[in-house]
Amino acid sequence: MNTRHEPSGRIDPIERVLADQPLRQPGDQLDRRIDALLEGKKARPVVARIGPMISLVGATAAMIALALLIHYTLPGNPDSGGNVPGGIVEAEPDPALEIERRWAVLEPGRIMITEDRRAVQPMRYRTVRQTRWVDPQENVEYELTVPQERVLLLPIRVD
């Protein structure tokens, strides 16, 4: 026990008597509680490591999903019929038909755990397709705006 009388180093007899007294001990329960706290503290960095990994996997999945969606929705792509809303079959391109604008937004959602305990990353893909064409015979301009939203659930590996 450090009962030295600073700074001279001399030990006071009062200090010696105080130091000789038997101290009341904390219970074992305290040690168990502290151990549980410290174990929890050790476990937390593992979660912290998984977090960025999930984000990285999620971001990669999002990029792949975006690439696939762009591929399948590009005009002129032979596979692009997949994005026609409501199962409408697109007509053959007409010289009067003009696709003017298309907006697309891809938003990754929060990672979820499915009922069968799989981690999935929801990707919300929103598009607005605006089509305008002119009927030269009637001299009428038609405009069609089709908003569309899809949610893709991309499986994620977290191990």
Binding site: T3, Q21, R24, L38
Partner: protein
């Protein structure tokens, strides 16, 4: 950091508990105070302090003061920081009884000290802290800590004279 905190706790377990017990006067609340202080430190990524030992004692003292504030009654518990139990209660040998009496007198002498002096004595003798660490733990100038400690020893000399 959990390992560092664990080592720090194990090294100062007794001193931390004794300090908390001297503040709260209740063993259960003293354990809660030590637990709460460690729990708060666990939430931090790193301690980021110059002297972790002084900081831990400071945290436990603050947590012990919080325990007092949480009490519904203002009546102060007065459990001893010492172990007054006899080695063999059935035999009650003269030396044991003498020792028990001595411990009770030391406890009484400590109880009669002003609170700041008592905490300094406990951190110094039972926490084995340096004056500099005590000053940091109490956020008090080093010279004040040293002089209060000397005053405490002087105050203890008379009631403990026969024990020296």
């Amino acid at each position: 950091m959990a390992d560092d905190l664990g080592q720090l706790y194990r090294r100062h377990r007794q001193g931390l508990f004794t300090l908390a017990l001297s503040v709260t006067g209740n063993a259960e609340q003293a354990e809660d105070a030590v637990h709460d202080a460690i729990a708060r430190l666990c939430k931090r990524e790193r301690l980021g302090v110059e002297d972790p030992t002084a900081y831990l004692f400071r945290s436990v003292r603050n947590a012990a003061l919080d325990q007092i504030r949480k009490r519904r009654t203002k009546l102060r518990s007065a459990e001893s920081i010492f172990d007054h139990t006899l080695a063999d209660p059935d035999r009650k040998q003269a030396t044991d009884l003498e020792r028990q009496e001595q411990t009770e007198r030391v406890q009484q002498a400590l109880d009669d000290l002003p609170e700041p002096q008592r905490q300094i004595v406990i951190m110094k003798i039972y926490g084995e802290l340096t004056f500099r660490q005590i000053a940091e733990a109490l956020d008090t100038p080093l010279s004040t800590v040293a002089s209060r400690y000397q005053q405490a020893l002087l105050a203890l000399r008379q009631p403990m004279e026969s024990l020296v």
